[in-house]
Amino acid sequence: MGGYGDVQMIDENGIRVDGRTAGDIRPVEIRAGVIPVADGSAEVIWGTNHVIAAVYGPMEAHPRKIQKQDRAVLDVRYNMAPFSTTDRIRPGFNRRSREISKVTAEALETVVLTELYPRSKIRVEIEVITAEAGTRCAGITAASVALADAGIPMTDMVISVASGKINGIVVCDLNKEEDNYGEADLPMGICANSGALVFLQMDGDLSPEEFQQAWDYNMEAIAPVHVLMIEALEKANGGES
């Protein structure tokens, strides 16, 4: 967050560079069951972000040292395809992908009933095909749908969305320019039904009032995404959608 105050990203009428108002999220599309060989899978197109998640397992955890005697472990791997951004991403894991894999696993472990599968592993693969700010949020949302699609028992589904600050104004669901030149970023993972918070990160500075505004935007943004998640699961599993 550089805080490039001279880059104007919202006009005097509150219209952002992509035509949205402060509280709008980008268009979202969700599909479940997109990878036939996986136990569960999902595709999330969130603005220009395109993320695919696949779930395999539960299976015996290998190597044995990662086994937990009383529960399953979530083995999450977040990866950005080399062609997902304008600058080529070097293939393989890096500091950022490891961090996102870890926070995603921790967010999802709070809703997955891991105690039902001791010594097991549930493998979650998140692949970012196209990136345009908010890939970790799209990844968590996709992984949540994929876990549900795989029949993994969960107490809720997690939706993640990020609000932030641009030109001193708090806005919902930052796009690429807003993320690059904005002043703050607050991604949150929220349980769709209970509203419980399972993941929060903050980059940049927000006053208590701005933090509250960003929090409220995130909380409001999950409802339409939850509807899309349910529709995707219904479509893939023979519901009435």
Binding site: G33, D39, G40, G57, P58, M59, E60, Q69, V111, L113, Y117, P118, R119, S120, A148, D149, A150, G151, I152, P153, M154, T155, D156, M157, C191, A192, N193, S194, G195, I222, A223, H226, V227, M229, I230, L233, E234, A236, N237, G238, G239, E240, S241
Partner: protein, 231 residues
């Protein structure tokens, strides 16, 4: 926050499919079946599936399951590894099952287990015991338990197998219409034996059912496929 009604999906949509976290209302003295847990705010679904509710029980019939072994289950296993005096079987569960020499199909000298059952061979066996970490021991001591040397083993999702063949009529008509011997195992596998033509016929039907497997509401259509007369 969007909630889901006791009778299925989102409010006002009347869908019968529940998703994880969907509110299923109050317990009202009912027993909690598969895919339902009780929280402070009431019952919630833990799986994607169709809600089944009556006066006694409320459960979610899942659209996707993985086999969880229970003692007494008849299962079809594939030998994955052999040690001096035991075999490891893939029984379609998260963990391989253990078949000790004492419960195997025959005796062999220490180190000669491979002569009795080798990697890749398929056996019909029964779950003897399951520990709290879901590791299981299987036995081949029992009526009808044997090595499978003929026919073909096909698979279906375990929950679908239970739903389709729960009353026995579908299996009976499948056997009658194809003149095949069919043994159903609880781990989602079935052993089909008979003439080459009849095995091909059963496999074609299973393939058709598998393509519809995600939607349990197709149950009657699937049973009709199983009962079709051979042209």
């Amino acid at each position: 926050m969007s909630n889901q009604s006791a009778h299925g999906g989102r409010d006002g949509r009347g869908s019968r499919l529940a998703t994880p976290g969907a509110m299923l209302g109050a317990r009202e003295g009912r027993r909690l079946g598969h895919g339902v847990v009780e929280t402070d705010s009431g019952l919630i679904a833990t799986k994607v599936g169709f809600i089944h509710s009556d006066e006694k029980t409320i459960s979610v019939l899942p659209t996707h399951t993985r086999y969880t072994p229970r003692p007494g289950d008849l299962v079809i296993g594939v030998v994955e590894a052999v040690q001096s005096n035991l075999w490891f079987l893939d029984i379609n569960a998260p963990f391989n099952a253990l078949l000790p020499m004492s419960l195997g199909p025959g005796k062999a000298e220490f180190g000669g287990a491979r002569n009795v059952l080798n990697v890749g061979q398929t056996v019909l066996c029964r779950i003897q015991e399951v520990d709290e970490t879901h590791s299981s021991v299987v036995t081949m001591k029992g009526l009808g338990l044997r090595r499978i040397d003929s026919g073909l083993v096909e698979s279906l999702p375990p929950h679908l197998m239970q739903t389709l063949f729960s009353d026995g009529a579908a299996l009976k008509s499948l056997k009658a219409s194809t003149e095949c011997r069919v043994v159903l195992a609880e781990n989602g596998r079935m052993w089909i034996d008979g003439s080459a033509d009849s095995i091909t016929e059963v496999v074609a039907r299973i393939d058709r059912i598998r393509s519809m497997a995600r939607d349990i509401s197709n149950r009657n259509e699937m049973i009709a496929i199983l009962s079709e007369e051979v042209a």
